[in-house]
């Protein structure tokens, strides 16, 4: 990997240089929460954020998107993507995008997702965890790839890791803004990462988790939490790796129809319903358990389906905590 330094004084110029790529989206504080919004000036962003409400998946798997429009009795594909910059993505969210890639870019490739992925220039940014983050226990607290540039905070600027050819190009084109990395910068980078590693308060015991959960299928803890859960589906919406969608045709007016897909949630009763009314996950307990099993799915080549961002905890109206549920399930076996 190539490393360069972006001095603090050049940050705004660097930000402005990215306009050449396309529209820039970054974390903006609104009320108590942060959101990825379209930004015109670097100053609009709040880069010292912990997590946004909706993760960057909203740019790739949209909450609602048109797949086709009906013209002259048959479908015409929708969507032409303009290049855009996603500024300030945390490493857990970079990992989450890689999980989405595994699904949407595997054969057959989802063309809508693939086009957006190609159109996106991703600038990662380092962060400090709060009491809900548990990405370290899942190994998603540091991204080795999946970004174009990654900025790590230094006392007097940013250490930039270059993760793609396009990232190289941006740095070459703006060479005047970057310095070589000094020994002092490396020492600062190391110190920052060590301080960060120590700052995690929450830990998910991930060893053997998949098997442990499988063995605890009938644990009474599931029932206890399913009764507490409101089945609102918030956790699905804010989860950076939840990707279930529903497809529906909608008439725009008497002559035109569109086929859309929108986020769906495995907490909805309709999720496991089939024609004729049989439901494969009829109770809230079934649905609650299903989500935890899905998030804890372990792929030997890619890890868990959860990146430890803490969103499901922060935005759960019933105050259910992911790690606590899994710990109690594990505890019920011991």
């Amino acid at each position: 990997m190539r490393y360069v330094k972006l001095p603090s004084g050049n940050f705004e110029d660097f930000f402005n240089s990215l306009r050449g790529i396309g529209q820039i989206y970054g974390p903006v504080k609104e009320g108590k929460t942060h959101h990825f919004r379209r930004v015109e000036e670097a100053g609009e962003m709040d880069l010292k954020y912990t997590r946004t409400m909706l993760p960057p998946k909203k740019f790739f798997v949209r909450p609602r998107e048109r797949l086709f429009s009906l013209e002259d009795g048959w479908w015409r594909k929708e969507g032409d993507e303009n290049p855009f910059v996603l500024f300030g993505v945390h490493s857990c969210d970079v990992h989450a995008l890689k999980i989405l890639d595994r699904v949407y870019l595997s054969e057959p490739v989802d063309p809508y997702y693939a086009e957006r992925r190609k159109s996106a220039f991703i600038v990662g940014i380092s962060c400090l965890p709060d009491e809900l983050c548990f990405c370290k226990s899942l190994g998603t607290h540091f991204a080795m790839d999946g970004f174009d540039l990654f900025l790590h905070e230094l006392p007097d600027g940013w250490l930039v890791r270059i993760g793609s050819v396009r990232g190289h190009e941006v740095v070459w084109e703006n060479a005047r803004l970057f310095d070589e990395v000094s020994d002092e910068d490396i020492a600062n980078f190391k110190a920052f990462e060590e301080r960060r590693a120590e700052a995690f308060k929450r830990e998910l015991r991930s060893e053997g988790l998949a098997d442990t959960l499988d063995l605890a299928y009938n644990s009474p803890v599931w029932k206890e939490y399913a009764e507490k859960c409101l089945a609102c589906g918030n956790c699905n919406l804010v989860c950076p790796t939840c990707r279930c969608y529903e497809v529906c045709d909608r008439w725009v007016d008497a002559y035109r129809a569109v086929r859309e897909r929108r986020y769906d949630s495995c907490f909805m009763e309709s999720h496991g319903l089939v024609a004729g009314g049989h439901n494969f996950r009829p109770t809230r307990l079934d649905r609650f358990r299903h989500r935890y099993y899905c998030k804890s799915y372990f792929d030997p080549s890619a890890g868990f389906n959860c990146v430890g961002c803490g969103r499901c905890d922060e935005f759960c109206p019933a105050g259910i905590e992911h790690v606590k549920v899994l710990d109690e399930i594990r505890g019920s076996l011991e």
Partner: protein
């Protein structure tokens, strides 16, 4: 290529099978596609009625015969709509999807097809494939139905009931509701037609279990009883194939509706299935 894009196909024929099910015969408008389209018994397609929606349906015709046929039960909004469509109308078809039955692996063996109700549709594909190719030792079809009027592909089933032995095929029927037609059938074929459930049809049959495969399709409740019967006869869990149903939206492993299993074994019914062995069911929770 856009995997969500369907190809226009004309409805050549609509035939009433029962009061609830119709048989649709379809042909793609694109001639090249008609030539190229092939599938394995047990695979499904997604039918697209532009402006109304899509739904998954098993192919009930055999790849050895064209054109393609779909047996559609009026079960919801979409299927009710397509039941109202006439010959000459155009719908979209995309697929085929899923794994299908491993027909090549089973060559030279006995096939025990166990169908319950609408489960006859995908197994009809297997049945005709097996009889057309003649690559299988003997084919049994055990078909459980509610009433005489509910027998899907009645002409074909009754024809095989009478003349199947010439094709190394034994058809047996179980019905729940008594009617004059059923009693008449039972009188004619007392060894092969009875009032009861589909597992009753196993009585009196001796299979060469080492050389047999069972292929099951029916309502969820049926699997437990049929599998118990097969296991009692010492059929290996790896030789029991079942085709399963879920709410498949995309058909290509993206939308997540058909995901089953737990953290150690998650499966997409649309891609990893819809055909699974009983062994898969033993190692994947929630499969059946």
């Amino acid at each position: 290529m856009n995997p969500y894009e369907s190809h226009p196909a004309r409805i050549l024929e609509v035939k009433d099978l029962t009061p609830r099910e119709k048989l649709f015969t379809l042909r793609f408008l694109d001639e090249k596609l008609n030539e190229e389209f092939t599938f394995r018994p047990g695979q499904f397609v997604i039918v697209d009625v532009p402006g109304f929606g899509e739904f998954p349906i098993s192919l009930c015709s055999s790849p050895t015969r064209s054109p393609i046929q779909l047996c559609i039960r009026k079960a919801g909004r979409m299927t009710k709509f397509i039941h109202g469509m006439k010959e000459g109308s155009v719908v979209g078809i995309r697929g085929p999807y899923g794994n299908g039955f491993p027909m090549e692996d089973m060559e030279g063996s006995n096939l025990i097809l166990v169908a319950g109700g609408l489960g006859m549709a995908p197994l009809r594909s297997v049945l005709w494939y097996a009889l057309d190719t003649g690559r299988y030792e003997h084919v049994w079809l055990f078909y459980g139905t509610k009433a005489y009027e509910d027998i899907l592909f009645r002409d074909e089933v009754l024809h095989l009931l009478k003349h199947g032995s010439a094709m190394n095929c034994t058809v047996k029927l179980a019905y729940e509701i008594e009617s004059p037609s059923c009693i008449y059938l039972e009188q004619g074929f007392s060894d092969r037609v009875c009032r009861g459930v589909v597992t009753d049809l196993f009585r009196g049959e001796n299979f060469d279990i080492e050389n047999s495969y069972a292929l099951i399709c029916g309502p969820p409740i049926m699997y437990r009883f049929v599998i118990r019967e097969l296991l009692n006869r010492k059929l290996s869990p790896g030789r029991i194939y079942m085709t399963l149903e879920r709410r498949m939206r995309c058909g290509v492993g993206k939308c997540g509706h058909c995901v089953v299993g737990t953290s150690v074994s998650m499966k997409y019914i649309c891609q990893d299935g819809p055909v699974f062995t009983y062994w898969d069911a033993l190692s994947t929770r929630g499969l059946i």
